[in-house]
């Protein structure tokens, strides 16, 4: 018995025209998403890719000293190189002097090995006086460091186009002359401390937000509507208020002559001439961030608690559970999705916080974002800023991925 095909009115098999309609709908949905997708791709995702690229791009010296590096390919890196390398250096450095573009290379090479700065500066100053031929001898005469192989080895080490040196710097490691990875010098080790502090502050802010948010979310969810709506304003008004306004109110409160210090003095916990420093240190960062991020914990908790029927707790009690037991066996497990959502949200926001630590944190309360901004705006080491940014981004995306698995990104609720 042959299977009979159902035909639609225009004679095409139904299955086929269904598929066609399905395809058309799929295309329509994709077309609707396309404008925003392309917009974000071009102005957001590609630039972030560009940032990753910058963090490993190390072609600057190779580009500026092209002839030197061609000549160096034949050198084994053991003893001093032969004449062609010095000839290449002569030609490259002369050109850099003519174009006045040697500033960057000095900074970059001195980072590779200290002592390069004076070496290159002196060489460039005297390079016009060199005679043709026998450059090796003349270079060593200008500066004896050209006769020490470690400087030439350091130069050769910069040959690869890609380098993860900036990432090593981001965790207080570096390359030595022989390309071994070693610890950064002791007085330059700051990044491990900074990462640890950032994670620490984010972690404790999350914990405190949870401790403060859980009871009030519970109260908001269980009170009758007319009271809870009123109290909800206390959560929503800060949520909608400008971050800078909220930070400035903490600056008012925490300053040395501020109300909190007045209170401490009035209570007799500190002498008037010895008021504690509440701001420009990690305490300021911590307190202000906890208050500012609190609504992000309350709202997800509230929306989960709202769905828990009060009869469940009553059932627990009627079956003989004490309030404490019923709470931990019934209520608490049901709120875990809200706890997960709120904690991850607060942690993600806290780990990349910039404005508040910059204003109330001082030096000891600044976080990794502040250091990225410093390298973008002041030290202008954009490659390093990119590397730190990439490390932070990887961390945040990992948490985002967990969040997506646990909560589902389309379940985010706002307000």
């Amino acid at each position: 018995m042959s299977k009979e095909q159902i035909l639609s009115s225009d004679g095409i098999p139904l299955e086929e025209s269904l598929k066609k309609a399905e395809r058309k709908n799929k295309l329509k949905a994709l077309l609707l998403v396309a404008p925003l997708f392309l917009f974000i791709l071009i102005i957001y995702i590609f630039p972030i890719g560009d940032m990753l690229f910058r963090s490993v791009d190390d072609r600057m010296i190779t580009k500026m000293l092209p002839k030197t590096f061609v000549a160096m390919e034949k050198w084994d890196g053991q003893d001093l190189p032969d004449e062609p390398v010095y000839e290449g250096l002569y030609e490259d450095l002369s050109l850099l002097k003519k174009n006045k573009t040697f500033g960057k290379i000095i900074a970059r090479l001195n980072y590779e090995k200290s002592g390069f700065s004076s070496l290159i500066k002196k060489t460039i100053r005297k390079i016009d006086k060199l005679e043709e031929g026998n450059y090796k001898e003349q270079f060593i005469k200008i500066h004896k460091r050209w006769g020490q192989s470690e400087y030439l080895v350091a130069l050769k080490n910069t040959a690869p186009n890609w380098s993860y040196a900036k990432y090593l710097k981001g965790v207080d490691l570096k390359f030595d002359e022989k390309r071994n990875i070693i610890q950064q010098d002791e007085d330059r080790r700051i990044y491990k401390t900074l990462w640890l502090r950032t994670i620490n502050v984010a972690f404790w802010v999350t914990i405190f937000c949870f401790i403060l948010a859980y009871p009030i979310a519970h109260l908001l969810a269980t009170l009758p509507m007319k009271y809870s709506n009123l109290l909800m304003i206390c959560v929503l008004l800060p949520f909608w208020t400008s971050l800078l306004v909220r930070t400035s109110s903490w600056m008012v409160l925490l300053q040395q002559q501020g109300p909190i210090n007045d209170l401490i003095v009035w209570l007799g916990w500190a002498a008037d001439d010895n008021r504690p420093e509440l701001m420009y240190n990690v305490i300021g960062t911590f307190v202000a961030m906890t208050q500012i991020l609190l609504p992000f914990m309350v709202l997800p908790l509230y929306s989960v608690m709202k769905t828990i029927s009060p009869s469940l707790m009553r059932a627990g009690k009627s079956l003989g559970g004490t309030p404490l037991v019923s709470f931990f066996k019934i209520y608490f497990p049901l709120t875990i999705p809200g706890i997960g959502a709120g904690s991850l949200l607060v942690f993600i926001l806290a780990i990349g916080y910039y404005i508040t630590p910059a204003l109330v944190g001082g030096a000891s309360g600044s976080l990794i974002s502040n250091n990225i901004a410093y390298h973008m705006k002041s030290s202008l080491d954009w490659a390093f800023a990119s590397a730190l940014g990439t490390m932070l981004l990887v961390g945040v995306l990992a948490i985002y991925w967990v969040y997506n698995k646990l909560v589902g990104i389309d379940n985010i609720k706002l307000g």
């Binding site: 609707l32 009871p215 009030i216 400008s242």
Partner: protein, 284 residues
């Protein structure tokens, strides 16, 4: 929250401890905002409560800092307000249109790779602002849009769209698609159906998304810090600059204005949310 008479004492104590704790947390949330209000009316130049203010002496209060904010000779607030409003206006329009259209696609049953697209489109909300700022700055510098209004508007559209996408998809989740099919069967073309049927129904979601986008742009300081030149200064940038130098009463006056504004926005958002819930209730 009166307790029944037979409540045992220990439970009573526990209950009142809990209420006190909640009260303290609400106080912690809301009180810092209200510290600013009286200080902005301070007659003196310092940021603390003077003896006259505490005695509620009218001489302790004045509007001079508001006057300074509006008419002050060197004050940048006029230009900053203008820029902030222009940037936020265009960013809101851009984000709302792009976000709403994308949300329509994302809510379709037929959308392939829905979760992946959603995660990507929401990412600007999750990625730390400092990273967004850095990346967008590199891009804008490359295409010559650094220190222009256009560059900042484009950046703010990116930051605002996730909110629009989230709120509009949420509204569409309760949307009854049979009404659009009914319109189509009555001979309406898709554009007409969208304008006459879909858009009015999802309007609360669209507007609350637009509010989020507006506030995001109006408040945003990190990305603007990277992108703005002197000509593009905004209110948050001026506050940032002022706060880094020292706390001034003029900043308190600006902050008070911003608190009033956020209160208005909050009221609007709340009314919209209730309206949206009511509408969706009817649909079911």
């Amino acid at each position: 929250m009166a307790l029944p008479n037979h409540t045992p004492l220990n439970y009573r104590i526990w209950h009142y401890t809990y209420l006190t704790f909640c009260f303290l947390v609400f106080f912690f949330l809301i009180a810092p905002l209200f510290v600013i209000l009286p200080l902005s009316f301070n007659a003196e130049q310092y940021i603390h409560f003077s003896a006259k203010m505490l005695a509620l002496d009218p001489e302790g209060f004045s509007l001079r800092w508001y006057e300074d904010m509006i008419y002050g000779t060197k004050n940048p607030w006029g230009l900053a307000t203008k820029n902030s409003l222009i940037i936020a206006f265009f960013a809101t329009i851009g984000a709302t249109i792009l976000g709403t259209v994308a949300a329509l696609g994302l809510s379709s049953r037929h959308m392939p790779y829905k979760a992946a697209f959603m995660a990507l489109l929401i990412s600007p909300m999750i990625v730390p602002l400092i990273i967004s700022g850095t990346a967008i700055f590199f891009f804008m510098a490359k295409v010559g849009l650094a220190a222009t209004h256009t560059g900042i508007v484009l950046a703010h559209i990116i930051l605002g769209t996730p909110f629009v996408v989230i709120t509009v998809t949420a509204t569409l989740s309760g949307f009854d698609h049979s009404v659009t099919r009914a319109a189509a069967s009555l001979g309406s073309n898709p554009v007409n159906t969208f304008m006459k049927i879909t858009l009015p129904l999802i309007m609360p979601g669209v507007i609350s998304g637009a509010l989020f986008a507006f506030v995001t742009s109006f408040d945003e300081v990190v990305v603007v810090l990277f992108l703005a030149g002197l000509e593009n200064t905004t209110i948050p940038i001026q506050m940032w600059v002022g706060l880094r130098e020292q706390l001034s009463p003029t900043i308190m006056a600006v902050a008070t204005c911003l608190i009033v504004m956020s209160t208005l926005i909050l009221v609007t958002a709340e009314l919209l949310r209730r309206r949206s819930e009511r509408l969706r209730g009817i649909n079911r």
